[in-house]
């Protein structure tokens, strides 16, 4: 039996092989440490947050990138996750917050972003990418290759990679 947790773990493994460092994982039904506040809704107490399934970071030649991943067993079930990322990509405060959480500071983690420098850029220029992970051959859905300015890619996992 394949569960969403299989997808999350296999995707994380694949990302590590590709040089990403995993910062946080939010398993289904679990608690999550890497929360990104959503913009306050009209008049409501601000409680809502994004909890991406995986948050990863990678030092590249030109800059350090932050990756958010959403996972589903079946590809067609990612439709709401596309909307989730679109909403996130349209919220500058949330995007800055992602970089803030991954910032460089004295005695902080080795791989990090220079948040002070990034914060003067427009939010559309922040080094953030999105990815969707799913089990291969589980149906069709057009996944975007870009959301606003942000690169978006697919992590398609074979049964061999999942088990």
């Amino acid at each position: 039996m394949i569960t969403e947790e299989h997808i999350t773990r296999a995707a994380a493994n694949k990302l590590v092989t590709a040089g990403w460092e995993i910062i946080a994982v939010h398993p289904p039904d679990g608690q999550g440490p890497f929360t990104i506040p959503k913009p306050p809704q009209s008049g409501a107490i601000e409680r809502a947050s994004y909890y991406p399934d995986i948050v990863a970071i990678r030092k590249e030649i030109r800059q350090t990138k932050i990756l958010l991943v959403e996972c589903k067993i079946r590809k067609p079930d990612l439709e709401n996750d596309i909307k989730k990322f679109q909403e996130l990509a349209n919220n500058p405060d949330s995007l800055y917050f992602i970089c803030f959480r991954c910032q460089k500071f004295n005695k902080g983690p080795e791989i990090s972003v220079d948040y002070e420098a990034l914060s003067i850029h427009d939010s559309s220029e922040l080094p953030i990418e999105f990815a969707f992970a799913y089990q291969k051959n589980t149906g069709n859905l057009n996944l975007p290759s870009q959301i606003n300015n942000f690169k978006c890619f697919e992590i398609s996992l074979t049964e061999g990679e999942l088990l």
Partner: protein, 564 residues
């Protein structure tokens, strides 16, 4: 059916399990427990608890009957050995105690339990006084800016005014605090200087003591502008509600070991995970990688060095789990010292747990809080408002000279009273209403002080909030059928339900409230100052008066080895 689904490798799955790890949280937590327990590794399998408890064996059902702990370890015929809760969220404010009813059932049945939680933690929080923050961040004098930021990380110190008073360097300020000279430290008084001294000693100076506390936030990391908002990263240390929580564990441990274990944070992870340490990638147990699990034994700093201890908290936790599996409760694993005042909370916090009222009317000066008062004053207040109460209940309460009131206030009709009040009432049940040294059978509800749950409903809540009659009515209708509804009082419906329903069948919106409260008083404050009272007497009073008995279904269903 409980088909085994696990990420454990084949070599760790026993052909015939000696133990089961029942989980209501995540499978990962169960497998983490199995992996690092010497007693469970290779000998236990995880079993998922269905949300409706339909697959739970009767032998452990009482432990899940009020609320569900994350993990319960049993032997292979489902005799419970230990109940475990794991949380990453630091307890704070009224939420500090919300999970406590999960442990209450274990204590009542003399089953040990463990709570892994951050006793101290880092928090990142949006702040609203941006004008003040901007002034500090934009301060051009670097020394002054550093001083002002340092003051922000301390309790109550007004940096700007202190600077203007002539204290202009961090070292000078620290020196004044250490010497108890509060005169030029703005915002600090003779009464509060001691708290500041303790904060400085524990979190700033980091004197090598028996307990290693979290490091204070470096001043330069305190405030950050993120998008259009300002955030602060700060150290949250145990306060009043946390001290109650630790004392709760301390008292319950007189009955059966009920121990908190500290989930450790470090500054390196401050922004990524609010400091919390997890297993990210475990090479030795790769199936535990990428599952947001607590650290493995030995992964974090040793924080309790007394008694020659060299183990970190997670290792001590696993030692405790293994001891419980052997039913060996002789070692306290340093918990007594950790729970008592001195290490994580100061004795003076105890005086803030409740207000002792000499005039009952003073209670209304507070929207919510804990109060102790003369029983006769409280009952006379209700009677003077025209509240009618059967004599048997009144007499039962009048036997006690004092009672404890837990008062809450609500204006949001859709805000239920499940969390955090179920846990908050469980805390008060132990802390204020019993003498555990004299009677340690919790289910008997032998009171030294009755507990009153006083709910003030105002605004829309006064008209619309469903607590508590609606829930009793609906449950009665569902269970008893529609007949006779109109002829029976809410109190009698509750009594009927208690005689006919197991406790876990009561909806969570009222379950702990009727269990822990001797009396529930709801004041609906309508417009034109008209106040409508609703009264329900809870299980402690109903048992005391003999109206219900320990053998009745609801009460009996809380006990392991019950006859239901």
């Amino acid at each position: 059916m409980n088909n085994l689904f696990t990420f454990l490798p084949t070599e760790l799955i026993p052909e015939k399990a000696d133990y089961f790890v029942w989980y209501t949280g995540t499978l990962g937590q169960a497998e983490w427990l199995i992996s690092f327990s010497r007693k469970l590794r290779g000998k236990a399998i995880p079993k998922r608890c269905e949300g409706d408890l339909s697959n739970i064996p009767d032998s452990i059902l009482p432990l899940l009957s009020l609320e569900q702990p994350d993990l319960i370890v049993t032997d292979n015929i489902n005799n419970p050995l230990i109940s475990i809760e794991i949380t990453e969220q630091q307890a704070f404010g009224t939420n500090a105690q919300q999970r406590i009813a999960r442990f209450w059932s274990a204590v009542a049945n003399k089953i040990p339990s463990a709570y892994i939680l951050p006793l101290e933690s880092y928090q990142i929080e949006k702040v609203t006084n941006s004008q003040n923050i901007r002034r500090i961040i934009e301060e051009e004098d670097q020394n002054k800016k550093e001083f002002l930021l340092f003051c922000e990380t301390l309790l109550r110190v007004n940096g700007e005014r202190t600077y203007n008073n002539g204290i202009t360097s961090i070292e000078e300020l620290k020196d004044k605090i250490r010497r108890g000279d509060f005169r030029k430290i703005a915002g600090v008084t003779q009464r509060t200087i001691r708290q500041l001294q303790i904060f400085l000693r524990k979190f700033v100076d980091e004197d090598e003591e028996n307990t290693v506390h979290l490091k204070n936030i470096p001043p330069e990391e305190y405030y950050h502008k993120v998008g259009q908002f300002y955030y602060k990263a700060y150290l949250r240390k145990p306060e009043v509600t946390d001290s109650m929580l630790l004392e709760w564990f301390n008292l319950c441990s007189k009955i059966i070991p009920t121990y908190p274990f500290k989930l450790q944070s470090n500054l390196k992870n401050l922004f990524r995970t609010n400091g919390l340490v997890h297993i990210i990638n475990d090479n030795e147990n790769s199936y535990l990688s990428y599952r947001n699990l607590p650290p493995k034994p030995g992964q974090t700093t040793v924080v309790h060095k007394f008694s020659g201890n060299e183990k970190d908290e997670i290792e001590l936790f696993f030692n405790f789990v293994d001891a419980c599996i052997d039913k060996d409760y002789s070692n306290d694993f340093l918990r007594k010292k950790i729970m008592c005042s001195g290490e994580y909370w100061e004795e003076e916090l105890r005086s803030k747990w409740y207000n002792d009222l000499s005039n009952i009317e003073d209670m209304d000066n507070y929207q919510s809080g804990d109060f102790s008062c003369n029983t006769s004053d409280f009952l006379n207040l209700l009677l003077s408002k025209g509240v009618e109460m059967p004599k048997i209940y009144l007499e039962s309460l009048r036997k006690f000279p004092k009672l404890h009131i837990y008062k809450i206030y609500n204006t949001e009709p859709n805000r239920g009273f499940y969390d955090p009040y179920s846990g908050n009432l469980a805390v008060r049940d132990i802390l204020f209403t019993r003498d555990i040294d004299i009677n340690n059978d919790l289910i008997k509800f032998n009171r030294i002080k009755p507990l009153i749950f006083l709910v003030d409903l105002e605004g829309e809540s006064a008209e619309q909030h469903k607590f508590i009659y609606h829930f009793i009515d609906r449950l009665f209708a569902q269970t008893h059928g529609q007949n006779h509804r109109s002829n029976i009082s809410y109190q009698d419906k509750l009594i009927w339900l208690l005689k006919n329903l197991k406790i876990h069948k009561f909806v969570k919106e009222i379950r702990c409230h009727i269990l822990f409260s001797d009396m529930i008083v709801i004041r609906r404050k309508h417009l034109q100052e008209e106040i409508e009272y609703e009264i329900i007497f809870g299980i402690p009073t109903l048992l005391r008066t003999g109206i219900i008995k320990e053998t009745d279904i609801a009460i009996n269903s809380m006990r392991l080895n019950n006859d239901n």
